[in-house]
């Protein structure tokens, strides 16, 4: 699984990091940082939680 974050759409709600703190990282202002590489299998559900928590729908997993 990969995580794609649309940086133009991210508006800094920081809900992804609240839903899955071990997975999503934020910059100093609270905007989501890109996620590189594959999501470890045991974190796939957390990734989907982060995706569905985004008010802007800026996150896609798959």
């Amino acid at each position: 699984m990969k995580i794609t974050i649309d940086a133009a759409q991210c508006s800094g709600h920081a809900r992804c990091a609240a839903a899955a703190p071990g997975l999503f990282r934020l910059d100093d202002d609270g905007y989501a940082l890109p996620y590189d590489g594959d999501v470890p299998e045991d974190l796939e559900e957390a990734a989907r939680d982060g995706e569905s928590a985004c008010p802007e729908r800026a996150i896609t997993t798959g």
């Binding site: 709600h13 920081a14 202002d29 609270g30």
Partner: protein, 401 residues
């Protein structure tokens, strides 16, 4: 009483109503009316004053908020398309808006805000401790309005003894009905007083900078130019207007909700880990902010043929209570899986203070229920909510006897 709108003909082929969002109504009447309007229309025309458009399709509201190129923040008041005042950064568009948001971002980021949590918790706890031995109180005046205002004043570096004055100004500026202030003179007088207050605070810091947000902001540059006193003033007015009433309103709704839903109250008391979702759900269900934008070009949105320069109202309640986005949208669900609401707006103008507001709200609900776990709405009140931003006017709760 009914709050259903009477039709007022059509405008460019779209249903028109005499819809005046400034008017107050019984608790939840505005939210319920948005549900009705959203079920019947994707958009309509309000015939109040010069008229404006209102979008009632959930996805269209959000898309418009995200599309800052088409929907400008030059005016954010549906009835005032050409304001003579400026609030910074809210009434700026990118790219200047982006510069301000970057400068401010750090002060309101999740990390910076989290560092203040112990202090925020202490302020809330002290206020509730002072109430818990009493039989009851007007929880808006005695807690919900004081707590976030004190935090705001500390953040800005303003003297705490000015708290009562601040609360009076907020009341005079934002809470007067038409009959209380028919010619708007009380509101104007308060506006002038707030303006003079911040002018004085800015002058004080120009001569002797301190370690507070105001002083720091005065040292910033936008496009290489230091921020002048006029823009500094526009920034202070925004923080006052946008930042001072919204958290009190949210705390009021949370306490109203848990007073009227005792089973859910018992659940969060027994398991405080449910509070975080409970807070998000009250923000969503009681959505009280109604943004507006000014069209930069002719565009169709929610079926409305909007012309360049016209105002478009974008009620957040419509997206947050959209049955296509949330199951049982008008119910607070303490275990809802995805609560991706837009109570803090959407797009580049997402509420700058959202992380602070969210923390204050969680702390308020946690500390309140730790001290006052059992309470009810005091009998004999007509619970009423203001127009514009739908906050409960006054809320008396009782917890003894």
């Amino acid at each position: 009483m009914t709050t259903t709108l009477e039709p007022d003909g059509t405008h460019d082929g779209v249903a028109a109503y005499h819809f005046d969002n400034r008017l107050g109504g019984p608790v939840l009447s505005h939210q319920n009316r948005w549900d009705e309007m959203a079920a019947a229309h994707s958009g309509f025309r309000s015939t109040v004053a010069r008229g404006h458009w209102v979008v009632t399709d959930g996805p269209a509201v959000q898309k418009a908020l995200q599309d800052w190129r088409t929907f400008s923040n030059k005016s954010v008041t549906a009835l005032d398309p050409d304001p003579t005042f400026l609030w910074i950064p809210e009434m700026l568009d990118p790219p200047v808006h982006t510069v301000w948001r970057r400068l401010l971002g750090h002060y309101f980021s999740p990390k910076t805000v989290a560092a203040r949590e112990p202090e925020i918790r202490r302020v809330a706890g002290d206020l509730i401790d002072a109430l818990k031995e009493r039989a009851g109180a007007d929880v808006l005046d005695e807690f919900a309005r004081r707590f976030p205002t004190l935090i705001f004043m500390r953040l800005m570096g303003l003297p705490e003894e000015d708290l009562p004055t601040f609360l009076d100004w907020v009341h005079e500026l934002l809470h007067l009905s038409h009959s209380e202030d028919p010619d708007g003179s009380r509101r104007l007088a308060a506006m002038r007083a707030v303006s003079a207050y911040f002018e004085e605070q800015i002058t004080l810091r120009r001569s002797a900078p301190r370690d507070d947000l105001l002083s720091h902001a005065m040292a910033w540059t936008v496009d290489g130019t230091p921020i002048n006193d006029r823009d500094m003033h526009a920034f202070c007015i925004l923080l006052f207007q946008a930042g001072l009433d919204t958290v009190p309103i949210s705390i009021g709704w949370a306490l109203y909700h848990f007073a009227t839903h005792p089973e859910q109250r018992r659940e969060i008391v027994a398991d405080p880990s449910l509070i975080a979702t409970g807070v998000e759900e009250t923000l969503r269900v009681y959505s009280f902010v109604v943004p507006a934008r000014k069209a930069t070009r002719d565009v169709e949105v929610g079926g409305c043929p909007v012309r360049a320069g016209e105002m478009v109202m974008l009620p957040l309640a419509v997206t947050n209570r959209d049955p296509d986005r949330f199951d049982n949208p008008s119910e607070v669900d303490l275990r809802r899986k995805a609560v991706n609401h837009i109570a803090f707006g959407s797009g580049p103008h997402r509420c700058l203070g959202s992380h602070l507001a969210r923390l204050e709200l969680n702390v308020a609900v946690e500390e309140w229920h730790r001290r006052i776990p059992d309470y009810r709405i005091a009998p004999g009140q007509d619970l009423w909510q203001h127009g514009n931003m739908y906050g409960i006017k006054s809320l008396r709760l009782e917890w003894r006897g």
